[in-house]
Amino acid sequence: MSLAEQQESPRNEKLIEVEDLQLYFPIGKKGLFGGSEMFVKAVDSVSFDINRGETLGLVGESGSGKTTVGRALLRAYRPTGGEATFHTGDGPVNLITLEGKNLQKFRRHMQMIFQDPYASLNPRMTVRDIIAEPLEANNIEGLSKEQIDERVRETAALCKLNLEHLRRFPHAFSGGQRQRICIARALVGRPEFVVCDESVAALDVSIQAEIINLLQDLQKELNITFLFIAHDLSVVAHISDRVAVMYVGKIVEIGPTEEIFYRPRHPYTRALLSAVPRPDPDAEFEPERLTGEIPNPANLPQGCRFNTRCPMVTERCRMEEPDLRSFGEGHNVACHYAEQIVERFKA
C-alpha cells in the first residue's frame, strides 16, 4: 500500500489512542497501622490505538482485565493513570480528565452492548422507550419528539426489528431479538465508538452468526468503531481487523488478526489458540499444557507475569519484565523469546 493510499483509507485514521492506561483498585492497607496501600492492578500500563471504522478484538482469560479496559475507556470507571485520547470531528478529547457536564455530553459518542440480553433490558419499558432512552435522557442532541420517533424507527429497521415490535415489552422476545434491541439502543444516538462486551456469548450458535453479521453490516453502514471483547477466539477472529491478547492486566501481543491467529509469537497466545477445540473429529487436538496458576493481580510475580505458567520460561523471565517489541505490520509482542517462537511454531 502506498503512502497516499494509506492516508486516504479511513482505516488508518486513529479514533482512540491509549497510552499507559492504568486502573488500580484499592483493597485496603497492609498491616494494622496503615502501612503501604495495596492495589489490584486490573489494568497495568496498557497502550493501543483503535482506527476509525475498524474492530479491535480483545481476548484473554477471565480476570485478565479486558472488561475493565472497555469500561475505563467509556469512563464507567475512572482510570488511575495514563492517557486516552478520543479524536472526534471537533478535535482530540482527553478521556481521562473529562468531568461533570462535559463528560455527560461526551457520553453519546461512546456506547456499550452487554453480554446478557435477558438482564440488560428493563422489563417494564416498551421496546420503543428502551431504544429512545439514550436520546431522551438529557436530550443532548435537542431533538423534538417527532425526530426522536423517526430516529427510533430508523434504527429499529437498521437492526432488523419489526416496527410493530416497538409497542411490546421485552419479555415477548427471544434471545436474538433482545440482543437486536440492545444493539438498537446502543446505536440510536449514532455513537462513533461502541464497546461490545461478550455481546454474542449468551446466544445460541445459530443466532450468534446472525448477530455477528448484523454488527458487521451496521459497522459498514454507520462507520462505527468497535472494541470487541470476547473469550471465544473463533468469534473474535471472525469479526476483528486487529486483535489484542491480554494476560493479567497487560497486553502481551497485539497485531492484525491473521498475524495473531496464523503467526502468534507469544507463548500465551499459542497456548490459547491450541486450546480451542475444532468441530472436526479428525483434527488433532493437542492443547499446550499450561501448568501453574494464574497469578493474583494484587501480588504479581517478578519479571514476566506469564512466567508461572510459561512452558519455555528461563531465568531471565523471572527477573526482567519484557516490553512490547515490534515485529512489523503493527505486530507487537511482549516476550523475550518472540523470535524463537515463530520458528518453533513452524516446525
Partner: protein, 339 residues
C-alpha cells in the same frame, strides 16, 4: 435399534411435558438414545432442545410439575447386571437415591452453584462417599484426598479443608469431578461441564475426563452446545432440536457427513478460524417458543429445504443410513421412496 455393544443406559421413547399455568408444555417428544459401556455420548443442541431434561429424568431430578408419558422407559444396567427402569421408581425410594450420585454421577455447569459455600470440600466429599460406600470417616477422607490428587489438584491434603470459595474456577470444577467420581459411578452425566471455564482450563478438564474414563471404564453422557468440544470428547452424538433427536450416530459420521438440515446449518453457522473472510451463514429465524411448538417436524419453521405441505404436518420417522447413523428428515424418507 442400531448399535449392538453393551448398553448401560437406554432412553426409550421419552415423552415429557411440564404442567404450567399456560398449559402443558411439551419438552421431549419420543426421544430415544443409548449409552454404551466405556463410551461417551455427546448430546448437542441449543437452549430448549431438551438435553438437560432428558438426562435429569435418569436420576429423577426434574421439577415436580413434570409429566412423563406412559410409554417412556429409561433402562439402567447396573454393575451386577440387573436392569432397572429408572422411571418406574418412586422419586424418594431407597433405590433411586442409591442410583443418584451412586450408580450415576453428575457434574453440572456452574461448580460454584453445585457446592455448598458453607462446608469445606472435604466435608461434602466425605458425606457423598459415606452415603454410597461402606467407609469410615477416616477411610472416606483418605479416598477423597486420593480423588482430589487424581484430578490434578496439588497438595490435596490442604485443599480438602478449604471452602469452595477459596478455589479458582478450574479447581472447583476439578473438585466437582472428584466429588462425582468418588462414589465410583458407572455412568457420568456431565451437563455443560466446561462451559463456564476458560479455554486453557477447559482443555485440561477435557483431558482429565478422557484419561479418567479410560482408567475407570466409565460411560459418559456429555451435554454441550459447543460442537468443537463434542467432536473432541464424544464417540457418538445425538443432535437435539426442540425435544426431538434429529440426527444420531458416530461423531465422525454426524460431523463429517451431516444429513439433517439442522446439523448442517449449525456446522455452517460456526465461525471458522481457517476462513476469516467468509461471511457467516446463520440458520434463519428464531427458535420457536416452547409454548408454540410447531406441528410436524419441529425444525420446519427454519428449514431452508422444507417441503411445503409435508414437513409442517407430519413428523418424519427416523431413517437408518448406516448402522451408525440415523436421521429424522422427510428429505431422506423421500429419497428412499424414490430409489
Amino acid at each position: 435399534m442400531m448399535m449392538t455393544a453393551e448398553t448401560i443406559l437406554s432412553f426409550e421413547n421419552l415423552d415429557v411435558s411440564f404442567k404450567t399455568d399456560e398449559g402443558m408444555i411439551k419438552v421431549l417428544d419420543g426421544v430415544s438414545f443409548k449409552l454404551e459401556k466405556g463410551r461417551t455420548l455427546g448430546l448437542v443442541g441449543e437452549s430448549g432442545s431438551g438435553k438437560s431434561v432428558s438426562t435429569r429424568c435418569a436420576v429423577q431430578l426434574n421439577a415436580r410439575n413434570i409429566r412423563i408419558g406412559a410409554g417412556s422407559r429409561i433402562v439402567l444396567t447396573e454393575q451386577d447386571g440387573t436392569q432397572t427402569d429408572v422411571l418406574s421408581l418412586k422419586p424418594n425410594s431407597r433405590k433411586i437415591r442409591d442410583i443418584r450420585g451412586g450408580e450415576i454421577g453428575m457434574i453440572f455447569q456452574e461448580p460454584m452453584a453445585s457446592f455448598s459455600p458453607v462446608y469445606t470440600i472435604g466435608n461434602q466429599m466425605v458425606e457423598a462417599i459415606r452415603l454410597h460406600r461402606d467407609a469410615s470417616k477416616k477411610q472416606a477422607r483418605e479416598l477423597a484426598i486420593e480423588m482430589l490428587r487424581k484430578v490434578g489438584i496439588s497438595s490435596p491434603e490442604q485443599r480438602i479443608d478449604q471452602y469452595p470459595g477459596e478455589l479458582s474456577g478450574g479447581m472447583r470444577q476439578r473438585a466437582m469431578i472428584a466429588l462425582a467420581l468418588s462414589t465410583n459411578p458407572n455412568v457420568l452425566i456431565a451437563d455443560e461441564p466446561t462451559t463456564a471455564l476458560d479455554v486453557t482450563i477447559q482443555a485440561q478438564v477435557l483431558d482429565l475426563m478422557r484419561s479418567l474414563q479410560q482408567e475407570l471404564e466409565m460411560s459418559i453422557i456429555f451435554i454441550t452446545h459447543d460442537l468443537g468440544v463434542v467432536s473432541q470428547v464424544a464417540h457418538d452424538i445425538a443432535v437435539m432440536y426442540l425435544g426431538k433427536v434429529v440426527e444420531y450416530g458416530s461423531t465422525k459420521e454426524v460431523l463429517k457427513n451431516p444429513q439433517h438440515p439442522y446439523t448442517q446449518g449449525l456446522l455452517k453457522a460456526l465461525p471458522n478460524v481457517d476462513h476469516l473472510e467468509d461471511r457467516l451463514s446463520p440458520v434463519g429465524g428464531d427458535i420457536p417458543s416452547p409454548l408454540e411448538r410447531p406441528t410436524g417436524c419441529p425444525f420446519h419453521t427454519r428449514c431452508p429445504q422444507a417441503i411445503s405441505g409435508l414437513c409442517a404436518s407430519s413428523m418424519p420417522a427416523p431413517t437408518q443410513l448406516t448402522d451408525k447413523h440415523e436421521v429424522s428428515c422427510h428429505l431422506l424418507t423421500q429419497q428412499e421412496a424414490a430409489s
